[in-house]
């Protein structure tokens, strides 16, 4: 079986996952380990008047009860936000302090005020129940618009009116002027529902302090262990980087929620030093709902203007984003640089203005969740396009075609410069696969069964692999956005690739090995991918934003370039040949047109024996590379969703879902399809099922799967997936990233399809049976009223 780029190579990691042999953080056992349980606030907003730990401390098996005053007293720093976003008047963002254990005040239900360290998990939990905290309840606010309203409860002293920043992108005057000339304006008030990420493996950490070495080891569920180490060291003062090892072993999904460094990991490290024990914490599902960073939660008013031919003349967006009670690592970037910059979609828009205000609320922090900012932009643009088409009585595909960007590179009015794409082509592919021509017949057949059938589009673009570092830095990013790799050829000819990209479901152990097997024409079994351990891999920025292929793999390619150059020098020297005549093929390097060759292991041995190397060459065969892309990559796609709605109950069934994607070069179609399936499932989840709800007191009503609706297999159709590749010109493989497309593109396709089916505007996500039924009733009564 061929294992080259483009082959459907089976995932090598699945054997251990499917047989239960994966090694996750909770599987790690350290000698002398103790357990942490957190004392969490039951109130969304309260002053902490006192903590009485005496009953807990007196309990059998309780080792220590530690609080926030002790933590800050030991110099543990506040949790940071990694991207400084300024207001449009130039003032810096108003960021409130976030201590891993709250001291004077709690600001959301689940905010931790103390931690109990005990001999067993059960004892730690009993201990936590026995800690008595004296709370003085304060008024709460959970919705972003209400938080910004006059008289709202003040959550952080240094964010007056709860506003963190008032940011803008684009040209307000030009946009206003353009809208004033528009022949038609489509206006919407739209909410992007708040979601809980729900990775299958909950967060966990086990920290070990070695007092003799003054060294810490942290196993944790991280998408980016090196960034965790950097932040823990540079900002939280846990230990200097060379005294701190962070390992993210097998990680069972992240979706963004495991990018950030949370209070629990920091506390476990610190508590390990305080108690001189290994300290372990594994979130249960209730804690996960309460404390994992949520996603989305935008409120937006937007106006899109068209000329008489249906060409967009201007787009004006005013968004309020809920950031939660504290600013998490990327919370400032998600509703700004990952959102406002996407407002041009696939369309040639002469003028755009997007204003974003961010608000503190008494809810868990909101941060990047699969797609991060781009799903919010796409949902807005794509539902507006379809609504505009209905209002102007145009075919929605035709309206899109009239506005598609046709030539590249294309500079949008909102920073991004698209490099490649073929939007009409992918739309046409999707329309053919979805048999749009036959839709009317299917609709009529459904009507004969009393069902309402509808079809909706979403043609979207995303920006992946945030880059380049210097540009991000100038916009306020606190990290570089490159990736590093090391390619080691061993003396026996096997290859180890050390990558800073972390795999937590993506299948990197297979796809990264494929690019090596392809390049060197060696068996894929001879390639091993090493990641997730700061003691092994030199550095890395981790996995998020669909960056592992465009950025992480590119670093591997660069390192392979260097290895190949050295291999060729060695072989040319040993075989007394010209480097230009060497071909890499069949597990050997041969001199073209001769029978002279060196087998792969012979080359390895030659490099490490160093008995016969070219003059001045260092022994060994391992090379390192850092790759900093010159631009984002821009995957694009066209989704078509077809639904049937039961008008009696409002239940929606997705009967057909078609995607045509441009991901650039595809390394492994099976894995790409899996990413699309998962992304679309989460997108359908957002559109039909999922919503986090806090009541007005800040209590989480959707704190378990009894109330939070996760997509299940029977909620989803079989997917039809097509690809059309326009390779990215900005990285050596021409890849674009595929991890988020489904979650970004699916929600508007689903909502557009339901809207088409029921013929009623203003349907809110999630389109639960009740919401759809209500929309149908409202449309009926407005028709009756006319």
């Amino acid at each position: 079986m061929s294992t080259k780029i483009g082959d459907r190579v089976k995932r090598s990691e699945d054997k251990r996952f499917i047989t239960g042999a994966g090694k996750y953080t909770d599987d790690i056992r350290q000698e002398n380990q103790a357990y942490a349980a957190f004392v969490r606030s039951p109130y969304a907003h309260a002053n902490v008047k006192g903590i009485d730990a005496s009953a807990a401390e007196a309990m059998d098996g309780v080792i220590a009860v530690l609080n926030g005053a002790q933590l800050t007293g030991d110099g543990i720093g506040n949790i940071i936000c990694g991207w400084a976003v300024s207001s449009k008047d130039g003032s810096p963002m108003n960021m409130g302090a976030w201590s891993a254990l709250a001291t004077e005040k709690v600001r959301y239900v689940g905010d931790a005020v103390a931690v109990v360290i005990a001999e067993t998990d059960a004892l730690a939990r009993l201990g936590a129940e026995a800690v008595e905290v004296d709370y003085e309840e304060l008024p709460t606010v959970v919705k972003a618009d209400k938080a910004l309203a006059e008289g709202a409860p003040q959550i952080h002293e240094n964010a007056p009116g709860n506003q963190i920043f008032d940011w803008e992108i684009g040209d307000q005057a030009a946009t206003d002027a353009a809208l004033a000339t528009a022949a038609h304006i489509t206006e919407v008030d739209i909410t992007n529902n708040r979601l809980s990420p729900n990775p299958m493996e909950p967060r966990a950490a086990i920290a070990t302090y070695d007092a003799a070495e003054e060294h810490y080891t942290l196993y944790t569920t991280s998408q980016n262990p090196h960034v965790a180490r950097l932040v823990l060291s540079a900002f939280y003062n846990v230990a200097p980087e060379h005294k701190l090892r962070v390992i993210a072993p097998d990680v069972g999904g992240g979706f963004g929620a495991k990018i950030y460094i949370y209070p629990e990991e920091i506390t476990c490290l610190w508590a390990s030093m305080k108690t001189n024990r290994s300290v372990k914490w594994t979130s249960d599902r209730s804690e996960a709902f309460m404390t994992d960073a949520h996603g989305r939660d935008h409120i937006t008013n937007a106006r899109m203007g068209f000329d008489a031919d249906g060409k967009i003349v201007g787009f004006k967006v005013d968004t309020i984003a809920n950031v939660g009670a504290y600013m998490s690592l990327f919370s400032s970037a998600v509703p700004t640089y990952l959102y406002g910059t996407l407002m041009s979609g696939q369309y040639d828009m002469p003028a755009i203005h997007c204003n974003v205000r961010t608000a503190y609320t008494n809810t868990v922090p909101v941060d990047a969740y699969r797609g991060a900012g781009r799903p919010e932009a796409t949902y807005l643009i794509e539902t507006m396009m379809e609504r505009a088409a209905r209002e102007m009585a145009m075919d929605p595909a035709e309206l899109r075609r009239r506005n598609f960007i046709q030539s590249f590179p294309h500079q949008t009015p909102v920073i991004l410069a698209y490099d490649a794409g073929d939007f009409p082509k992918i739309l046409q592919m999707a329309q053919e696969s979805a048999d749009v021509a036959g839709f009317a017949t299917r609709k009529a057949e459904a009507a004969s069964r009393g069902m309402l059938r509808g079809l909706g589009y979403s043609t979207f673009i995303e920006a992946c692999g945030l880059a380049p570092s210097a540009a991000a830095g100038s916009l306020g990013a606190g990290v570089g956005l490159w990736e590093s790799a090391e390619v080691r050829m061993n003396p026996v000819g096997t290859i180890e690739v050390l990558t800073g990209s972390h795999s937590h479901g993506q299948g990197h152990e297979t796809t990264f090995a494929q690019i090596v097997a392809d390049r060197f024409d060696i068996p894929i079994e001879n390639v091993k991918i090493v990641h997730g351990d700061t003691d092994k891999v030199q550095f890395g920025m981790g996995t998020y934003g669909s960056r592992s292929a465009p950025v992480g793999m590119s670093a591997v390619v660069k390192a392979m370039d260097k290895v190949e150059a050295k291999i060729k020098k060695i072989v040319a020297h040993v075989l007394e040949a010209d480097e230009a005549d060497l071909v890499i093929e069949g597990g050997a390097v041969s001199v073209a047109g001769t029978d002279k060759q060196m087998l792969w292991h012979e080359i390895g041995l030659a490099a490490y024996m160093a008995h016969n190397l070219p003059e001045g060459m260092e022994p060994g065969l391992k090379e390192t590379a850092f790759f900093d892309p010159v631009n984002f990559s821009f995957p694009s796609g066209a989704f078509i969703c077809e639904v049937e709605v039961d008008p009696e109950t409002g239940t929606t069934e997705i009967v057909q879902f078609t995607s045509a994607d441009d991901f650039g070069t595809i390394i492994n179609p099976m894995i790409v399809e899996g990413q699309v399936h998962g992304g679309v499932a989460q997108g359908i989840g957002q559109a039909l099922l999922e919503q986090v709800i806090y009541d007005d007191d800040g209590q989480l009503l959707t704190g378990s799967y009894m109330d939070y609706t996760m997509p299940r297999a029977d909620d989803l159709p079989f997917f039809t997936i097509d690809h059309h590749a326009t390779p990215s010109p900005n990285n050596p493989l021409g890849v674009k990233g595929c991890g988020e497309a489904g979650a970004i593109g699916a929600p508007p396709a689903v909502i557009n399809a339901i809207t088409d089916a029921i013929g009623a505007e203003g349907l809110a996500m999630p389109a639960t049976p009740m919401n759809v039924w209500r929309a149908i009733q409202a449309a009926k009564s407005s028709i009756a009223a006319e």
């Binding site: 109950t649 799967y705 009894m706 939070y708």
Partner: protein, 264 residues
Amino acid sequence: MYSTKYHNPASIDAATAALSSGEEAKVLAGGQTLLPTMKQHLAEPSDLVDIRGIAGMADISANGATLTIGAAATHASVADNADVQSLCPALAGLAAHIGDPAVRHMGTIGGSMANNDPAADYPAAALAMNATIVTNSREIAADDFFDGLFATNLEDGEIITAIRFETGAKCGYAKFPNPASRYAMVGVFVAQTGGGVRVAVTGAGDDGVFRHAGLEAALSADWSEGAVAGVDISPGGLLSDFHGDSAYRANLIGVMAKRAVAAS
């Protein structure tokens, strides 16, 4: 979990003794409700008395049109039982759609009845057929058994041993699942038995399972889907939450009643 003492009695007498031995002893059946509650530290029984080992507790038998289902019979065993399937396919179908396979292989009919969750399925069947709840000390008609949300008139220490159904000519059940939990958001059981036409609604009432007089009258006059359409279903007294407000639930009662009749 808090510490608790586990008993595994082989007879009703031993179970009764064990139940009176502890401060706060509780019957344990499938544990699908009780154990999660204990894990969340919302219940703290001193003793758990597992009734699944008691001889005959999980038996299912038929005598003419009478079905007797042991309290410890799991939902899966009810769904798969040939007598249930032939005498009352609606009941077998109801059991087959409770929760997921794991829940169906652990959860029991007795546990479901004793728990009287307002969104549980069995109470609708029991009330529509006026089943008899047999306990270690007496027999209780379903009409007298349910007593509001999560409440029944079981005495402390009383153990349900079986549920007896007089199956009728026509029975049908239609359930609209809550999208998240997949318990009944509205479940309607329609039955035409010796006791006349009865319609029980679960999932919707703010006081638990209830009979719907309007639907009963309409279906007594004319057992047809069309008869349901004319019935006025008031949202008064119905549950309201973010999954379904009372108006939506009222609509669903009508739709599910129609579908239950169609399935009968």
